[in-house]
């Protein structure tokens, strides 16, 4: 069995509201999966179910083959979790926090001490090792929170919006760390609000909204699914925009903003047809670019129909 995490038909309801609707997802060892979705999509509910904090109403969860419903402590022994908010004992120092949680995960006293020292170094917290956590800055707490999660390496790592509020340096530290963990065979599930982060970090991206999986695949696959290629045109004058739209009127999904016009295309050769139409109307072009859609565009395209559905 290669899947470290296996969710099938996972369902969770809060009263009338369905937070998770038959979510299925597998994460093999050594893979980073990014969970994307707008606020309230069900990301945190999914994570809480996976980490034994919530009991699902339906479906199954397996973590290294263990079922949280019947073997919660075996599941807990194999997952490292960092929640959305730092979970630290504020009254004691970073070192004491690391030693405490390290010992709880089975380290002896001496080992825990040694390990705490290593983690403080690795997360650039050494100078604050003895300051009570209550006095630390937000970024330091966040890093310590991650350090505490990783103080004993476990085969599954779950991160709920780990880089929210981190400065670029700390974010890079975290990214490097996630890559290192994956490289040694850890299965990583991370939720994020930053599409760039998912693009950079995740081997696979899962988009969910309203508790349902909308897409599952690599960043490139998702981009291809959504629109293939984008032809981005910059007109020499914003006054021409309306005319350009007119000229491209019968092509699907054309968008315009200021002096910029974006045209989705199935194949790269289609660019000739686009340029021909504009030339036919005598509209000068300042710049042209053919690219894949950004993950932002994928995200909006995927989640927008759902948003409309609810506003109706």
């Amino acid at each position: 069995m290669t899947e470290a995490i296996l969710l099938s038909d996972l369902t969770k309801r809060f009263g009338e509201q369905t937070a998770l609707d038959r979510v299925s997802l597998g994460i093999p060892a050594g893979t980073v999966v990014g969970l994307l979705g707008p606020n309230g999509a069900g990301k945190t509910t999914l994570i809480n179910c996976l980490t034994t904090l919530l009991q699902p109403d339906g479906g199954t969860i397996r973590v290294l083959g263990h079922d949280p419903a019947t073997d919660p402590s075996l599941v807990r022994a194999n997952i490292a979790v960092t929640g959305q908010f730092a979970a630290l004992d504020e009254q004691i120092s970073p070192r004491e926090n690391l030693v405490f949680f390290g010992r709880l995960l089975g380290l002896g006293r001496g080992e825990a001490q040694q390990r705490a020292g290593e983690m403080l170094e690795r997360f650039e917290l050494a100078e604050a090792a003895y300051t009570p956590v209550g006095y630390l800055s937000g970024g330091m707490r966040r890093r310590l929170d991650l350090a505490v999660s990783l103080v004993v390496p476990r085969p599954v790592l779950v991160l709920d919006e780990p880089t929210t509020g981190l400065d670029p340096r700390s974010r890079k530290l975290l990214w490097d760390m996630v890559r290192a963990e994956a490289a040694r065979g850890v299965a990583v599930l991370l939720t994020t609000q930053y599409l760039e982060e998912a693009d950079q970090l995740a081997d696979r991206i899962v988009v969910i909204d309203k508790g349902r999986v909308l897409a599952d695949g690599s960043s490139d696959e998702l981009k291809l699914d959504v629109g293939g290629l984008m032809c981005r045109l910059t007109l020499t004058s914003a006054a021409d925009t309306a005319a350009a739209r007119q000229a491209l009127g019968d092509l699907p999904g054309v968008t315009a903003e200021g002096d910029k016009v974006a045209v989705p295309m199935a194949r790269a050769e289609d660019v000739g047809a686009v340029l021909g139409r504009l030339a036919g109307q005598g509209l000068p072009i300042a710049d042209i670019e053919v690219t894949k859609p950004t993950l932002d565009e994928v995200f909006f395209t995927l989640t927008e129909p759902m948003a409309k559905e609810t506003t109706r």
């Binding site: 980490t51 034994t52 997952i79 380290l107 476990r154």
Partner: protein
């Protein structure tokens, strides 16, 4: 200690983990709470504060009680002790609430920690604090005329009973701390009842001095029962009729609140 997952070199593959077991978990959890309760702030709460109250009550009541022929040290020492134990229970619940709001509680719930060990460690530390407060108050009482009239066994019973009362109260406050999320509301709910419970008891004045309609309430109050048991085990006549109501109260409260705490904990832990 063969399969310790700690000393993995960076980059080495990670082996699956196993829970460390209840005894180990208890030890680690107990160590953390114990070191917190023996910190400076913790000792102020368990030792200094009761002594300050003892001195205050001595100054305010000794004169008046003396005029009625009651010896302060013998009469009020158990009352001050009960107050100190109430504070221990309140502080224990406040710590629990702090762990919940800081997220430590959730982290424990996602760690392979034995749930029973979590509860036991909490109660063990509370019992230790109760013991500490008892010793401090009894020593102060001895200076003010408090004595154990019935020998060593009764004195041990006195301390044991005090500790049992602390645990029973802490189970009650833990239930509240597990049910209430709002810290402000929690603080009010924890602090409001203690003063009426203490004052409307036989702790400071005999039941006869209360207005007639209140006397039955004062007589059956659990705090009166507990104080009377403590008195029976030390300075007053040691009879079953004096000691039994308090013992029954503590046994009943222990059973009741052990159950409510378990239910409340389950609700928080498994949703």
């Amino acid at each position: 200690m063969s399969a310790m997952p700690g000393v993995v070199a960076p980059g080495a593959p990670v082996s699956p983990g196993r829970p460390a077991g209840r005894r180990h978990d208890f030890q680690v959890l107990f160590d953390r709470l114990r070191s917190r309760s023996f910190s400076r702030g913790g000792l102020v709460a368990t030792v200094v504060q009761p002594l300050v109250f003892f001195a205050i009550f001595y100054c305010t009541f000794a004169g008046m009680l003396d005029e009625r022929g009651i010896e302060f040290g013998r009469f009020v020492t158990p009352t001050v002790l009960v107050q100190a134990l109430m504070f221990v229970a309140i502080a224990g619940a406040t710590d629990l609430a702090a762990d919940r709001s800081s997220g430590v509680f959730s982290r424990l719930l996602t760690s392979p920690v034995d749930m029973g060990a979590m509860g036991l460690a909490h109660l063990a530390v509370v019992a230790l604090q109760g013991l500490l407060s008892s010793v401090a108050v009894v020593l102060a009482g001895l200076l003010a005329g408090f004595r154990f009239d019935h020998g060593v066994l009764a004195a041990l019973g006195f301390v044991l009973f005090a500790v049992a009362f602390t645990v029973a109260l802490s189970l009650a406050t833990a239930t509240i701390a597990l049910r209430l999320r709002n810290l402000e509301a929690l603080s009010a709910v924890l602090h409001l009842p203690y003063l009426p419970l203490l004052v409307l008891s036989t702790g400071f004045v005999e039941a006869d001095l209360f207005p007639g309609w209140l006397q039955p309430v004062v007589r059956v109050s659990p705090v009166s029962g507990v104080i009377d048991t403590l008195r029976a085990l030390s300075t007053t006549e040691l009879t079953w009729s004096a000691a039994l109501p308090g013992l029954a109260w503590v046994a009943g409260l222990l059973a009741l609140f052990a159950w409510t705490t378990t239910v409340a904990f389950r609700k928080v832990a498994i949703r």
